[in-house]
Symmetry: C2
Subunit: 212 residues, 2 copies
Amino acid sequence: MARQATGAAQRVAVAAETLRDEKFNARRIELAEAALETLGELGFARTSLREIAQNSAFTHGVFHYYFSDKLDLICCCVRHYKAKCVTRYDEVVTTARSRDELTEGFLAKLAATLETEARMHRLWYDLRSQAMFEPAFRKDVLEIDKSLEAMIWRIATRYAELGNKRPASSPAALYALFDGLFQSALLRYLADDKKAVPDLLDEVRRLLPTIC
Amino acid sequence: MARQATGAAQRVAVAAETLRDEKFNARRIELAEAALETLGELGFARTSLREIAQNSAFTHGVFHYYFSDKLDLICCCVRHYKAKCVTRYDEVVTTARSRDELTEGFLAKLAATLETEARMHRLWYDLRSQAMFEPAFRKDVLEIDKSLEAMIWRIATRYAELGNKRPASSPAALYALFDGLFQSALLRYLADDKKAVPDLLDEVRRLLPTIC
DNA sequence: CAGCCGTCTTGACGGTTGTCCAAATTATTG
DNA sequence: CAATAATTTGGACAACCGTCAAGACGGCTG
């Protein structure tokens, strides 16, 4: 039926629909970004839709208009978070011309991330733990984990390349190592342990040459 | 005043009080153990005191009698969990007479743990993430993390010793590595990934000789 | 301008939460 | 055995939760 409409009218209709969809999606992301603020502050367990709305410029009804569900909102938040997170070290990787340059660039970004985005990262660890209980989260979380693993792998292979070597361990092991170190440092940092950041940097600095 | 009571009477009073305290504490642990059942099933975010009580032989009032708070209960649960968890590999470490024997013993326990106590472990990861938001959890969680790091370190040093070597990395890095691998494997296992356990075992088997 | 549609606000709903308490029950003491 | 203390019960409470729906708003189209 619709398929038999004149080509022009059909194209107009389709264009209008995709425009609406884009606007709708842009609004979703806007709301997700506002929600991330509160989620990063309180964590998944203590965050309610009303709390999210109150800490933002929106009313709680809007969230229900754009998201079918609380889980739907959180999933959108996670997915949006992913996009920003995964490219963090890419510039360093592509511009570094020596091992030292890469090391220092990586360490600087690492420290800056830990100190300025601690709230977003604790939320990530929170949601990854929630995925162990809530099946609805698992797909997105596993996907993000894969992207982060690839991100670490890009750093490692570039580092190895600059020394004419090859990484000595698997992507999975490498990611597990860095993720574990970061997670531990984050907890210590949040607990006001002043040595959390320098200890992490020392550890990574010592580790990099041994794994590649 | 009480210090000047006759020695005998004082000793009796003190004995009575410690007896009461012990009984009180035993009851707390009994309740904590019941609570762990539900917490492991639902996770921190979705577990209420009433839910805990309903899934146990106790009424919800008792929990408030023995614990000042919900956080108090959870803290007690975590501490109790710790004691059981930290000694898991000790027998393997002390009885193994060769590297292979230690490796196989460790891997077997690792797989068994992942498969039979997945619920308790996801709760641990949940609570460790909560500690990033809730200061009241931090002290206990950091302490447990330290014990787990020591546990891994005992395995590594024994493994190195059996090969007349010394571990090639720090306790912190080693723990980060194994914890990261286990966490990832646990999530995949809970997501019904049949390769989660064998992949973990392969990875660890390959890793052990390279780090010691 | 009238009418429609997408967007948003507001208040209400049933259910659940942590907490508290008065009364009932059980154990312990004199 | 009586009485005092410790323990347990189950209901009441206010606050909060996610969800929903009726209607208001504003721009666009016919």
